[in-house]
C-alpha cells in the first residue's frame, strides 16, 4: 500500500515538474552563451527542466562549453521547436527569448502567440534600449547594456528571479 502510494507521488512529481524553453538568438553577442548557461543552472536548481532551442551555431556553443552536460539538457532545432509548439504537440511553463536584434523581437512575439508559457524577453547588446521600446506585446523584460560582460544582465536576471515564480 505504502509502496504504491510512493509510486503515485513520484509520478505526480514527474508530471508536475515545470519546464522552460530558452530560445536563443544569433550568437554573435558574447553574453548570450554565458547567460544561457547561468539561467539553465538557476532553473535546474529550482527544479525546472530547461530545454534549449536555437540555430546550430548557438546550440553548439553551449554543447562545447558544457561537454559533459552538467547544465545543458535537451536541445532542439529552433524551427522544430516552433513547429512542435504551433502544432500543440508540446508546450512549456516558462519561455525565455534572447533578443539583441529585430529578429529576436519577432521570435518573442511569435512565442507570445503560439505558446501558453510565461514569456520573458532577455534583451542585451548595445542597442538594448531601442529594442525594449520596440516591444509592444505582453512579456516580462529583463534588459541590460551587455555585450562582452555578462554581469549587468546577470544582475537584472537575479533581480527578476524568474525561477522563483
Amino acid at each position: 500500500m505504502y509502496k504504491n502510494r510512493g509510486l503515485i507521488d513520484l509520478a505526480d512529481e514527474v508530471k508536475s515538474q515545470r519546464s522552460a524553453l530558452l530560445v536563443l538568438g544569433c550568437p554573435q553577442v558574447p553574453v548570450q552563451t554565458s547567460i544561457a548557461l547561468y539561467l539553465i543552472h538557476r532553473l535546474r536548481q529550482a527544479g525546472i527542466s530547461p530545454v534549449v532551442a536555437g540555430n546550430r551555431s548557438a546550440v553548439t556553443l553551449l554543447v562545447v562549453a558544457d561537454p559533459k552536460r552538467h547544465y545543458l539538457g535537451e536541445t532542439l532545432d529552433l524551427d522544430r521547436a516552433i513547429d512542435q509548439i504551433t502544432e500543440k504537440k508540446r508546450d512549456f511553463d516558462l519561455c525565455f527569448v534572447f533578443i539583441h536584434n529585430d529578429a529576436g523581437v519577432s521570435y518573442a512575439a511569435t512565442m507570445g502567440v503560439i505558446s501558453k508559457a510565461r514569456l520573458y524577453a532577455i534583451i542585451y547588446g548595445e542597442h538594448y534600449d531601442k529594442i525594449v521600446s520596440s516591444i509592444e506585446f505582453p512579456c516580462i523584460n529583463i534588459a541590460a547594456n551587455a555585450v562582452h560582460n555578462p554581469m549587468p544582465l546577470k544582475k537584472m536576471l537575479d533581480e527578476v528571479a524568474p525561477w522563483a515564480v
Binding site: 536563443l24 538568438g25 544569433c26 554573435q28 536555437g54 540555430n55 551555431s57 548557438a58 529552433l78 524551427d79 516552433i82 513547429d83 509548439i85 504551433t86 536584434n101 529585430d102 529578429a103 529576436g104 523581437v105 519577432s106 521570435y107 512575439a109 511569435t110 502567440v113 503560439i114 520596440s134 509592444e136 506585446f137
Partner: protein, 90 residues
Amino acid sequence: MGCIESLPYEVIMRGGSFKECRDYVRKQFRESLDVQPGFKIFDTHIIGVPPISIGLDGDFVIFPFTKPCHGTFLLRVEDKAEADRLRKRK
C-alpha cells in the same frame, strides 16, 4: 524553414525591420491579408510580430521570412496554388 530556402524566391527587401516589411506590403500591394505568427505558408510556420501582412500580386506571394542571424527578409515567390489558397482566406 528549410522548405522556404529551397523555393525559387526573390528578395524584395533585406535588412529592414519587421515593421518596415509589414508597411511595405500594405503600401505596395493592393491585395494583402493579415495572419498570426505560426500561420503556415509554403508548409512553414511563419515568424513575426502580429499582425503579419502577406501580399498577393497575381500568382506571386510576398511574405516576411525571419532568420535569427540575418533578420527579416521580404520574399516574393510565384506559386499559383499557394496564392489561391491565401486569397480564399481573405
